[in-house]
Amino acid sequence: MIRVDGVSRWFGNVVAVSDVTFDVAPGVTGLLGPNGAGKTTLLRMMTGLADVSDGAVTMFGEPVRDNPPLYGRIGVMSEHETVYGFMKGREFVRMMGRLRGVSDLDAAVERAIELVGLEHAAHLPMGTYSRGMRQRMRLAGVLVHDPEVLILDEPLNGADPRQRVQFQDLLRRLAEGGRTILLSSHILEEVEQVADTVLLIVNGKLAASGGFRAIRAALDQRPYHVRVVADAPRELAAEVVRLPSVDAVNVDPDGALILLSRNVRDLQIELPRLAQRASIGLRRVEPLDDSLESVFGYLVEH
């Protein structure tokens, strides 16, 4: 359906995307990566908004760049949340439908607005909408011509938990209808809920791709650093090193313990029990590298 073949993009000396190759098939595919990984640049090249420095992007076997007839078959929601503030929601969706040559426009507009659940606000200017409402009405504008391919860049920004669930349900229904959906996010759990396949982008490169379970399993085997501040660190270190969930123990210069663990779930249970048994007070227990960047970094290295 979508083929990205050896695509690179650089801006001066900065390489934003480097030699990325993958295919996107019908269903929901998640494009995951930390902020600044190159997801948006990649999506912009996949939609023809930006040119590639090297490689090729094709959709339905046709090049996407400078190919207006093809754009009638795709729906794109960019990460930018700007809307025409003077325009009412229904007017916006209607304009998007007219631009895309929708034949039964009235019915298509109402169907798209109903899909995103904004019938009650469709008569209001978009400038008065909350961030989540703007995103949903923008999605209605993307759906009005019933595209075969949907490319959505961080579409859940600004959505509250209830809206997220509704949006994920909507994506599943659209995918069941045979559409190809590419959804970008920097939040693992967001993609996990809906995506059958995951593409992982880190530092402009395709770090991993495949089923979400395989990616999740790789994450679960990742070693974590945990910092522990205790009343008697050296005594605790002597005890904690015997725990099956701990791979290594170091004492940093200010006396805190740095534990290396591949099984944080068990460590969470075993450490307090051990401290209680040894009558050692625990002052602070904190993960050192739980940021998304470190998670992605781990996957890249392995």
């Binding site: 908004l49 207006p68 093809l70 930018h80 025409y84 003077f86 504008g141």
Partner: protein, 237 residues
Amino acid sequence: MSAVFSLTLRQLTGRWRLVIMSVLATMPVIFTALVVRSDSAPFVSAFETVVLSTMLAGSIAPLIVVSIASVAFGNEVDDRTLANLTLSPLPRWQIVGPKLAAAVAVAAPFVVGSAFLTSFFAFNRDATAIAAVTTSAFVGVLMYASLFVWLGLMTKQAIAVGLVYIVLWEGFFSGYVSGIRFLSIRHYAAALMHGLDPRRFVDDAHVGLGVAIAVAVVVFAVFVLLSIRKLRRMDVP
């Protein structure tokens, strides 16, 4: 009415923009009304140089057009909504054309209205002279609009660049350096006016009506084509 045209029309008709345009367009009219009533009314050639050429064609018209045409695309490049248009299946000329048409539809009433009233007061209701001035003003709007729409796609500082162009190129250099005059939109708008009413206006530059029309068509077409080309090739934000 095309969706692009109606969208652009709404974007370009903000209240403050229209107020400022109205003030600008009124200036030559008031100036002319005051001058023709004074005891020392100027000759046609002096009036043409000061009011029609320098004030109207060289300043007011391009100022009005640059502030409208350069944001026809410029606003959407800035707020990143241009992708709504470029990701539609419309051929690129069907985006550029309505954008340009909307810019002309907003700017022309101010410039042409100003030219009409100015010539109406100045030439004692002489229909030929009024037609010559207003037609050349409209053709000037078309040329300037095509230039500034393209400029709005080329740079985010289109208004600033446009102002520098108006002040330095159209205002200063083309007035004092004879060679540059042949690369000035104002010059050809004036030549058109000379050609349409040779009885009243003297064509010092000897351009001729045919050349003025041909150059106007070429300038308009070239910048329209450049805009289409740019829209096809640019990275849309």
